[in-house]
Symmetry: C2
Subunit: 322 residues, 2 copies
């Protein structure tokens, strides 16, 4: 998706896997939404991304970015960026003119990357940069020799509201009919949205989406204080699809994760959840390759699961063009 430094090396390589931050403030006199589009455009630009479009409702603003998404509520924001963006720089910029004693929660994450060598920084470097502004702790969920998820959190006690859950589904190496269609050039957002059948999975959301050229797709969806977002990097050499939501999948009895795994048929996928206790219904063709969890001192119970598709057949080597 988007124009990006990473594209310079090879047009077929794009780092879909994301960096993400969620910051909550505890200040009745402040309203993050009231800071306005220009303020958020400035924050987004610090990470080398751009705002493409915006939808809003009574509760939140949802910005679609050239590299992923930004959601802003009165008292919190969630920013997700992919490619070779520098989200840590945007966080440091935000923190610099923000009374840090009013920050009740800050969680920064990075997934393992396909092309770590194209990144402007490593997770330990990012974590140290943020730590210089606000004292925190840093973790890796998952084994170092498999998939993993890095997490930095503000080291301050926090009691998230009971409905404050997040579920992330990160799918790698997508296969099958939908993947093939997404790899075709110049799809429209309409035909991608239709192929995703997302309306049947999570109904009633207001949707803003964008089809990138030659391929790639991003979608933001909002309903009251709820959001979900989908980002698709379909190219064979680095395919990746992420889904993320603050819908409580346990109490809504949603099977969305299972439905998406069946649609995209990934070679492997990770689930990262925050205070989400929904049952994980995983197709039997997948194998849990590692799982890690912890009740963090910042008030969230975090789980990480890494699933791989069982493979019995011999894989033909992939040939590079030179």
């Amino acid at each position: 998706m988007g124009n990006n430094q990473a594209l310079k090396e090879n047009k077929l390589l794009f780092e879909g896997s994301e960096k993400k931050v969620e910051i909550c403030i505890d200040d009745q006199s402040d309203n993050l939404r009231a800071r306005g589009d220009d303020y958020w455009r400035l924050i987004v630009s610090q990470s080398e991304a751009e705002i493409i479009s915006k939808i809003s409702n009574q509760q939140l603003d949802a910005y679609l970015l050239s590299e992923s998404s930004l959601f802003v509520w009165k008292d919190r924001f969630t920013m997700i960026t992919c490619g070779s963006t520098s989200l840590a720089d945007a966080i440091v910029y935000f923190l610099k003119d923000q009374p840090t004693d009013k920050i009740s929660s800050l969680i920064f994450q990075r997934k393992n990357e396909y092309f770590a060598h194209m990144q402007p920084s490593s997770f330990p470097q990012d974590a140290k940069k943020i730590h210089q502004q606000v004292h925190g702790k840093a973790f890796r969920f998952g084994d170092i020799d498999r998939h993993y998820n890095f997490l930095f959190h503000l080291d301050r006690p926090f009691s998230p509201p009971t409905n404050d859950t997040t579920s992330e589904l990160l799918m790698y190496n997508i296969q099958g009919e939908l993947a093939e269609m997404l790899r075709e050039k110049n799809n429209t957002s309409e035909n991608i949205r239709e192929a995703l059948e997302i309306e049947t999975i999570l109904p009633g959301f207001h949707i803003d989406d964008f089809a990138f050229k030659p391929f790639g797709y991003s979608l933001n969806a909002i309903k009251d204080q709820l959001y979900y977002t989908i980002h698709i990097t379909p190219q064979m050499e680095s395919s990746y699809v992420s889904f993320e939501t603050n819908v409580d999948l346990a109490s809504s009895n949603s099977n969305v994760l299972l439905q998406l795994v069946e649609k995209f048929s990934p070679g492997s996928f990770d689930i990262v959840s925050f205070n989400d206790h929904s049952a994980k219904n995983i197709p039997p063709s997948y194998h849990c390759s590692s799982k890690s969890k912890s009740d963090l001192s910042c008030g969230y119970s975090v789980s990480f699961y890494y699933y791989t598709k069982n493979k019995k057949h011999w894989l033909k080597p992939y040939q590079f063009s030179l």
Copy 2:
């Protein structure tokens, strides 16, 4: 192991996973061994590594390097380097004053890395650099979302001698008693060699080994035209052990791979083999996560296997120091 650029960022992080090249020449008037130590010191220095020591026999010279190993026969050499070395530069340097029509085989490999962001180049960049000197083909064995092995080979028909086999065992995330002992600082090469009990596995080799400070170990072993080599990066944050040999494991009926897997108890390991048709006796606690093979046009049948340990328990997240 060794002093290395990568150590600058964090003393605990060291990229053990290797780059490797094997070049065969077909020129009765040439003798690679006769080029002498100063010549090979120059070649090694092009990759930012250094020669530490040397052993020889009638058939070959085996150099232990600050980052891995170099073996030189009359008509071929194998060079393996780890850390953030630039092996492709050494290859280009070798090729520049070498009649390229006398090169009968060139195979360059890179493993997937723990810390790709610390590398001076990516595999596609390396492959393109070598391709500018000698026309070749480039492949990835293994799925992009799991472990994999990159391979570039000279695009020229070659008939390897029937006894020309190579087996590589690459172990990640080592655990257990031996791993704990290796993580202790200031082990001697004598006590590491004893703990490895290597003499009972492949007997009768002449051994040259080195224990790095504070930890890390390298071993070269030779017997007639045969070699094996072991490189150990024990530190918890990036543990890695490689074993490689040109001993024909099928005809020697050796169980060395199985014995090493049992000793190091890795979280995952890869086996890469060239014209090796030995049976793979893998402990049942491991799961074949992917396998790939191909009969390459350069005359070698190459197989890649990626095994992961079955994990039923929850993993505690790893906490970074900030």
